[in-house]
Symmetry: C2
Subunit: 329 residues, 2 copies
């Protein structure tokens, strides 16, 4: 089934969305918000699925056209947002471009950072930044939403806690990153609000493209009508979502509604392009000694989408513009 | 006024607590949870204050004895938990103990990490850890709770967004930290669940001890009946809470219910002891070449408290034990 949160207050209103993303119906009688549904997933799942099946079967009372502009992020705010860097080939490339070695441990010990989760933005919301000098970049990623995960869980069991899947644009301010990572405390100012696809879907919606821990489909990133890349998210994912959850839950339980990200999707050698501009620039640096592609400018439009084998959009598309923000004086 | 959340479901039930921490009354008719109150603080503050004033004035209908055992963290889960390291003298000491220089920038550019905020624990809840080998330590800190903070705010204006103050035990797994910081992505496994005092208080409850951005009182940490330290939280706080909020909000707004921590309270030269065992061990290392104080063991009891000038507890006390946790097999 497919779920979305219509913009309303801080947490949105839960709706069920048809598989073709054209129709929706309120699910608030089952759970007022997606967070509430995930908090009581075992109690809500069947009723939500029943509603989805009715919507698929034909017209239902109260249905309305689904408009991605009206959708907030599936969880407009959440309690735990952990973003991995699971495509180690990407990390290796970034390091190579600056002449640094990749520690061997990076192939066996996942990189994960904690992200700010108090204000995710919708698929068509503007990405706000104060300055282009910050080096505004997109990062196209796959994310999963979990229910409650016990501490110390192993990867195989962790897979059972993946309830929903979506895509994000994990916007990065590249020129703020080196100083932050140099302090070793992780990203902070360099990671503004993260954008989500209009819908999140249960794993069964992916059919054979979901193997229980990875999505085996291209993730398409398009900047100003030019395709930047469409690497396959199931290829070169060094740590699958089960392994990422195991890592995140080593010393503490994860609560319902935790969102775990894959990190920028990337394939070895980037044969199908890249899911962020930083990777494009690294490839240019390695080939030509310096990057020629700039980071994003105000007014730029970034589109992120994943299509099923019939060419239909699975999650809806992130389609947003970069807009300047003026801080209070 | 003083507020607490009684244990109930995932978000607790909001109560107002008397200044002496002995009596409480439900505030759920004003806001069901503290998060709901912070979401609509401008609308809730006066009604909550009225209720507090009535409780202070004498018996009110429905009041009951306040029991810190029944209290969850004031926010049992929140959407943004940003912990600073504002006592740079502490960071300098830790570095000195391992023979490393402190970069000059650490005196002007705050260190902040993003913490997991999906499951804060109550003042009397057990601290769970799988292994003593992880190097279990306490960290006594001051925290503030904000309402909505616009992106790009400056420190002076940021002070106005501090709505509540509390204390935390930001438990750290010291032996997991070096590898995590080495990866530059910040703390993750090394920071399990954070514990909070039973109540959070409005700044006016601190009287002259609150200067608008710092708390000028000793923070007392006691391990197994032995005082480890009582450094003054208003001394040597290199970055005050206004500055920490400015830093956290540089590139994005902070949403209501954001919790900002001071980092381990520490005074130059540690004349009144320390607020974590890591600092004790650093002092031993500098003086004797190696640490002699061990980290915490299962069964250890840690108490964290702050007293007003009359010797009365302001926030109630964190008083908890370290307990072994067995992961699922």
């Amino acid at each position: 089934m497919k779920l979305a949160s219509l913009k309303s207050g801080r947490d949105g209103k839960l709706v069920v969305v048809s598989r073709d993303l054209t129709r929706a119906v309120s699910a608030q009688h089952i759970a007022p918000t997606l967070q509430a549904a995930l908090d009581e997933w075992a109690d809500c799942e069947t009723a939500l699925l029943d509603l989805f099946n009715k919507l698929q079967a034909g017209p239902v009372s109260g249905e309305f056209p689904f408009d991605s502009e009206a959708a907030a992020a599936p969880l407009p705010r959440c309690y735990h947002w952990a973003d991995g860097s699971a495509y180690v080939t990407h990390v290796e490339l970034v390091r190579k471009a600056r002449g640094a070695e990749l520690p061997d441990s990076f192939w066996t010990d996942p990189l994960i950072y904690m992200g700010a989760s108090d204000a995710f933005i919708g698929a068509n919301d503007d990405v706000l930044a104060e300055s282009e000098d910050w080096g505004i970049d997109f990062e196209a990623e796959v994310v999963v939403f979990t229910d409650d995960v016990p501490a110390g869980i192993k990867a195989e069991q962790a897979r059972n806690h993946i309830k929903l899947i979506g895509l994000v644009n994990d916007v990065s301010l590249r020129n703020l990153i080196p100083a932050e990572l140099g302090k070793q405390f992780g990203f902070y100012q360099s990671k503004p609000q993260t954008s989500f696809t209009p819908v999140a879907v249960t794993p069964d919606e992916l059919g054979d493209a979901w193997d229980g821990a990875k999505v085996h489909l291209p993730l398409i990133a398009t900047l100003n009508e030019t395709k930047i890349g469409s690497p396959n998210a199931g290829v070169d994912m060094t740590f699958d979502f089960g392994q990422l959850i195991q890592h995140a839950a080593k010393s503490r339980a994860l609560m319902a509604g935790t969102v775990i990200g894959s990190g920028t999707v990337a394939n070895q050698g980037s044969p199908d392009g890249s899911c962020c501009l930083a990777e494009v620039r690294c490839l240019e640096t390695i080939a030509q000694g310096k990057p020629s592609t700039p980071f994003m400018s105000f007014g730029d439009r970034i589109v992120i989408e994943m299509l099923d084998s019939d060419g239909l959009s699975i999650f809806g598309r992130i389609d947003q513009r970069i807009v300047q923000y003026h801080p209070p004086t």
